[in-house]
Amino acid sequence: MNRLLPVLVTTAVFLIGFALCCLQFPNFLSTRVVFNLLTDNAFLGIVAVGMTFVIISGGIDLSVGSVIGFTTVFLALAIQRAGLPPLVAFALVLVVCAAFGAAMGAVIHHLEMPPFIVTLAGMFLARGASFLLSTESIPIDAALYTDLPDAAIRLPGGGRLTVIAMIMLAVFVAGGLLLHVTRFGATVYALGGNRTATALMGVRVGRTTILIYTLSSLLAGLSGIVFSLYTSSGNSLAATGVELDTIAAVVIGGTLLTGGQGFMFGTFIGVLIQGLIATYITFDGTLSSWWTKIATGVLLFAFIAFQQSMVGLAGRRSRRRAAGVAPA
């Protein structure tokens, strides 16, 4: 129950926020708005799934925004200049991204360095690499790029469930299963709880760490593919600062930044809350875009303070229960 509380609060905040928006703007309550929320935040959702694994394991990945940028430029060059079929380019870029993540994971584990500084180097490297490939925005006009974004299941009320949104939903379902059902998922939680204890239990910490960062970069690559489909272009400046939005979405979704606690569903709601704020500001029309940042910051603070008080309460209770035996 205690573990579920942050997710329940997040969900309640989203529902209340949505209800308030509907009260103010009657047009808000339509399938069109709801499904646009999914389509517009698809790339953020996909990358947030990977970040959820990283943060639950007690790490952080600052490189995801740069990896998205790199992916879009790589795809644009591979498809437009080298003439590769889009699907081959997709496979190629996913392999590159996965290798990049595996390398970061290996450095984090084998050199025993903090993930913060290693992924910071990865962020510089990926952004620098995309700048080296091209500094201009390259439009992509392959057939797949003109057809796929328009392909959608039409719903009553003007809503369109696009392919992009479906990819995101599928990634969330797959990520949720991987985190909550498999042995790998259990290991991720264990790592975030206590690394040393996990290693002593016989879990292969190194392998899991490398897999976690591989997964994060792989999903960032997939997110980059979706981003390039969404914008039909490749730009080395694309997705600057997305790592912050992603971390914010995961934290607002009730995942503890110290690791060991969190749910995939919470991240999904966290992404939707960020999308809801942006949509509200678009609907309102008089508010400026910077209010998105301020509102996200305020929400971030509220959730972190809430979590902190929860952790404090839980810690006090368990200490009382242990009757003098202080937890390490």
């Binding site: 952080i60 910071l120 962020m123 700048f131 500094t135 400026s288 910077w290 940042k293 971030l300 972190i304």
Partner: protein, 331 residues
């Protein structure tokens, strides 16, 4: 401190000189310095001048990292303070504009410090809040525009000079002297290192760890606001979107190049500033050599990796120059 610096910072000083030498090879007029309009000009002077904002940030960041913390919000705080100074400069006297900007930095630092020291939130998370919201606040102040000003008093921080030295460099030097005097002239530096080394043991030994933590974040906010003033004066305007963008990462990098450990417990202010100058010298070198400026990021990534390798706990036993590696890590 000043006497210990040459011994402790040998690798950094050698690296800085090596980069300057490379710059000189790439561009033979690199060391040409001339005196004009009461001020020094030249590529070398430019390295110091352009490096000033990151150098200022690295002074505060060094103290924060010494307590095992990190301040991700300094870039956003720069934007806020630059916006405050620029929007008040033409309508109010200079002391008011400067005071308001410094006060804004102080408040931001206080906020971070309260979250970390009183609420006990992890530093990386606590300062993430202001990093996200701060740029929004700065845009709120400038109303999304680039606010320009013409007040010569504020512009002095960008184009003026003290005894021929560019004003920005003088500000860095003054702040460095003041901070060194404060932390090394008293026991404060020792207490800051103790807090980072083992907060619990230090608290039991009577160190006011909470006050120390609060103080370093406030000081970091103050340094960030000075950096914001210098950056705004440099372009005679405040750009809430781009002022200080990603500079927090450069500041962390500068402190790490300066030999500090991200695990806290030791710091050198002089070497942190030298780290900032190393970064700037590399940037200038890349520009002079005609490589695209985008090359910067790749070079920075390589430097981070190199510093990681030197600092890595796993590699210390393997390194051939084991003794040297150890002694450098200790200091």
């Amino acid at each position: 401190m000043a006497l210990r610096l040459p011994r402790a910072g040998t690798p950094q000083i050698l690296a800085f000189l090596a980069i300057l030498a490379v710059n000189w090879v790439v561009s033979p007029q690199f060391f040409d310095t001339r005196f004009q309009d009461g001020r020094l000009f030249g590529s070398l002077v430019d390295v110091f001048n352009r490096g000033a904002p990151v150098a200022l940030l690295s002074i505060g960041m060094a103290l924060v990292i010494a307590t095992r913390g990190i301040d991700l919000s300094v870039g956003a705080v720069m934007a806020i303070c630059g916006a405050v100074a620029a929007s008040l400069a033409d309508s109010h006297p200079l002391p008011v504009a400067l005071g308001a900007a410094l006060g804004a930095g102080l408040l931001c630092g206080l906020w971070n410090g309260l979250l970390v020291a009183v609420l006990g939130i992890q530093p990386i998370v606590a300062t993430l809040i202001l990093m996200v919201a701060g740029r929004g606040i700065a845009q709120l102040i400038t109303e999304g525009r680039i606010v320009t000003f013409s007040d010569p008093g504020l512009a002095w921080f960008g184009g003026g000079s003290v005894l021929g030295v560019p004003a920005a460099v003088a500000v860095v030097f003054g702040m460095l002297l003041l901070t060194v005097a404060l932390v090394r002239g008293t026991a404060l530096g020792l207490m800051i290192e103790a807090t980072g080394g083992n907060a619990r043991a230090s608290a039991l030994a009577g160190v006011g760890t909470r006050a120390m933590t609060l103080a370093v974040y406030i000081w970091c906010g103050l340094c960030a606001s000075l950096a914001g003033i210098v950056a705004a004066a440099d372009i005679r305007g405040a750009d809430a979107n781009n002022a200080g963008l990603w500079l927090e990462l450069d500041a962390v990098l500068a402190v790490v190049i300066g030999g500090a450990s991200l695990f806290g417990g030791r710091f050198s202010l002089g070497l942190a500033v030298l780290g900032a100058l190393i970064i700037q010298a590399m940037n200038t070198g890349i520009l002079l050599s005609g490589f695209p400026p985008e090359f910067n990021l790749i070079v920075k990534a390589v430097v981070v990796l190199a510093v990681l390798l030197v600092q890595s706990p796993a590699l210390v036993g393997i390194l051939p120059s084991r003794q040297w590696g150890r002694s450098w890590r200790r200091r």
